[in-house]
Structure formats: structure tokens, C-alpha cells
């Protein structure tokens, strides 16, 4: 990276470098790069980027962002205090494959742990989520602090949609009980068309990659807390759950 005329410009270059805006900026941590790398690789190459940036081919230029960042999308309904749909989380806990009923109240005795990658050997019965009737609620902004309080969190790909039930193959458990984390699959039941149409709801579509959280009473979060994977959201999950 040298130039034959550099000798003539040493002073200029030194002066320019003294005015380098990044001069005082601390170097980024390797953890930050690692997290961003992992979050990026969670976004499949063939999936459209949901924030309005299409292909991004360098030689023809990036397209302008046509929609606000996702956090602003649900910040708007938050301000408007719109109703959101809530999805009732029902977990099939038994290793025999039977349903154990909905999670209610505090987490199960096997307290949640975080940042657990799926292993190929795990083969417990699927966790089943069930969509309940929409309820009135307010959207809260997605934040790392809010995510951190979620007892259940995972990343998964929708492998099947049949009727109102979607099946996700879990790629990573960020938080959950030991029983939950033993499962490879999660099923979401009762995803109504009404729910799918809500921009702040969760529209699970086959082939889509999602980050999902659920609160203590067993409801899957909406309002952007549970949504299709984006680097931004994945980064927030990683930071919230240390994964």
C-alpha cells in the first residue's frame, strides 16, 4: 500500500492522519465482531432483507432504505397504543411426546439457562406453542433489557405450515427450561389469518427464520420481540442472552 510519491506527501499524510476522526475511537472488541458475524450468518442468503434493503450488490449500489428500522415500525403502534395480538404459548414438556399444558406463571423448576446452541444429538419431543385469541395490549419498544427478562427465547426456521399450525426447527436456544432446550422443534398452533395480518404480530411463514421469545405466562411476544431474523434483532438477542 505504498505510493512512489509518498515521500513528497509525508507531511500532508501525517496532517491528515492527525485529523482522522477515528483516531480517538476505541477499537471494537472481538466479541462485537463475533456477535455480528453470528447474527449475520443467521440470515439466510436467499431470504429478502426485511428492513427494505434488497440485494445490496456492490457493483450496482445499495438501494435506499425504504422503510424505517424495524424497531420504529412497532414504536409507532406503541405510541398509538394499538391493540396487539398475543399468542398463547403452550409447551409440550413431556419427553414422551405428550402435552404438558401451557406454561403459567413462573418458569418451571428447571430454571432457564442462556445461550445454548442446539446440538444434533438433542431429540426430545417438540415444544408446542398455541396462538390464543388476540388481546388488547400496548407495544413496548424492543430493548436488550426487555429481552433479557424473557424466560424463553430461541431461533428457528419454519419447516412446515399446516392450517393454523407452524412448525419450527430450532437452531438455537437462547433461554428456556432444560425441558424446552432439549427439544429440536417448536410448534405454534392457532396462527389465525387475523393475527398474520397484524404488522406487529408474528407471521410465521414456511422457510422463514425467526427469533422468538415468550413471557412467563406462556405468551409469545409480538411487537417485534418475536420476528423474522435480522442482524439487528439477532444482535440484540445475542447481547441480551449472552449467546
Amino acid at each position: 500500500m505504498t505510493d512512489p510519491t509518498d515521500g513528497l506527501d509525508d507531511g500532508l499524510r501525517a496532517r491528515m492522519r492527525a485529523a482522522d476522526p477515528a483516531l480517538g475511537a476505541p477499537p471494537s472488541s472481538s466479541r462485537w465482531i463475533n456477535e455480528l458475524t453470528e447474527a449475520t450468518m443467521s440470515t439466510p442468503t436467499g431470504t429478502p432483507i426485511p428492513v427494505g434493503t434488497p440485494d445490496g450488490t456492490p457493483d450496482r449500489g445499495e438501494q435506499p432504505r425504504t422503510s424505517p428500522p424495524r424497531w420504529r415500525v412497532w414504536a409507532v403502534p406503541a405510541a398509538a397504543a394499538v391493540a396487539v395480538a398475543a399468542v398463547v404459548l403452550t409447551v409440550w414438556l413431556g419427553r414422551s411426546g405428550g402435552p404438558a399444558g401451557p406454561i403459567a406463571g413462573a418458569p418451571a423448576a428447571d430454571s432457564p439457562s442462556v445461550g445454548t446452541s442446539r446440538t444434533a444429538s438433542a431429540s426430545a419431543a417438540p415444544v408446542t406453542l398455541r396462538a390464543g385469541a388476540p388481546v388488547a395490549a400496548r407495544c413496548l419498544p424492543v430493548s436488550i433489557a426487555s429481552l433479557r427478562r424473557m424466560p424463553t427465547a430461541f431461533a428457528g426456521t419454519v419447516t412446515l405450515v399446516r392450517g393454523t399450525t407452524a412448525t419450527l426447527q430450532v437452531s438455537r436456544w437462547y433461554a428456556g427450561t432444560a425441558s424446552q432446550r432439549a427439544a429440536d422443534q417448536v410448534q405454534v398452533e392457532g396462527m389465525s389469518p387475523q393475527l398474520r395480518q397484524l404488522v406487529y404480530g408474528v407471521d410465521l411463514r414456511r422457510g422463514g427464520h425467526y427469533l422468538v421469545t415468550a413471557v412467563h405466562d406462556g405468551q409469545i411476544t409480538a411487537c417485534g420481540f418475536s420476528a423474522e431474523v435480522t442482524p439487528r434483532l439477532a444482535g440484540m438477542y445475542a447481547e441480551a442472552f449472552g449467546g
Binding site: T5, R13, A18, L36, T37, R65
Partner: protein, 180 residues
Amino acid sequence: MDRTDREQRFTALASAVGEPVRRYVVRRGPPDLVDDVMSEVFLVLWRRLDGVPAEDPLPWSYAVARRCLANARRGVRRQAELVEKVIRLSESARTEAASAPDAGRDELLHEALGELSDLDREVVRLWAWEQLAPREIAAVLDLTPNAASLRLSRARRRLAARLRQDGPSAGHRPGDGRRR
């Protein structure tokens, strides 16, 4: 978890270019856009991994960052303009704090850079800040190496001449009509 070959290649690429590209973005973008822009850059690199030059991925990555930054700026143009003003102020403040006796020099430099065309200014920045050679600058800016070299020489000449006009010790010449 086993890594695919593609994931291994991307991890290595991210490790190699992540920090320099972040600094590139820090140098040119409002602080509150850095994370968003970096997310977009990584996403483009991930999606276009097969097109990233294996032997010298950095200029290509800078080119991606340049476009992502331009997109981000367009998306938040009004905020960006405001923040840019703040950045300029903070740059001046940082410079003053770092080298108070020479504070005027950096102000002059900033003015001199501002008198260059956008493209020439970026050529000089890539040369000085990213320390790229003309052929690498050409890759970032989609120029021919010859055009990049000519632009760089011309921009450096103009910059040096402009700075000589005021001189290191004449930073605040009274009555200098060129000052804004």
C-alpha cells in the same frame, strides 16, 4: 456446531475486515448509524461472499461500506445532516484538546478538504486514513487505477497548495477573505 465451508470463509473475512471497515464507517458516518451500517455491510458480504476477492477483500469491503453508508444517509438525511454538524464540531473539539497550539491547522485542513470535490476528497481520505494505494482506491470508488492515481495526485497538489497558502503559522490570518 460444525461450520460449513461458507461459514468458515465468512468468519475469516469478518475477522479480517470487520475492524478496518468499522473504522471506515466511524470516520464518515454519524455515530448512531455505525451499528446499522455495519450490520448491512456484513449482510452484503455474507450474501455476496462468493464475489468477494479472496486475495484482497478490503477495498471491496470498503466499497460495500461506502454504499451502505450512502443508503443510511439517504434514509435519515435530515438527522444525518444534523449529526454531521455535531461531528465536525466534535472533531474540532477533539483536535483542539489533542493539540491546542495547532488547532488552526486542522481547521485549515478541514477547509481545504471541503474545497475539493466529493470524489477527490474521498480519494485523499482513502489514501491518508485507510492508507490505500491508487489501485485500491480505484477498487473502492469504481475508477480505473489510472484515474484514481491522477485524481490522487491532483487532489494532493491542490490540498498542499491550499495549505501552503495559509501556512502552518498563519492559520488565523486577520482579514483573510477566504475564511468562512
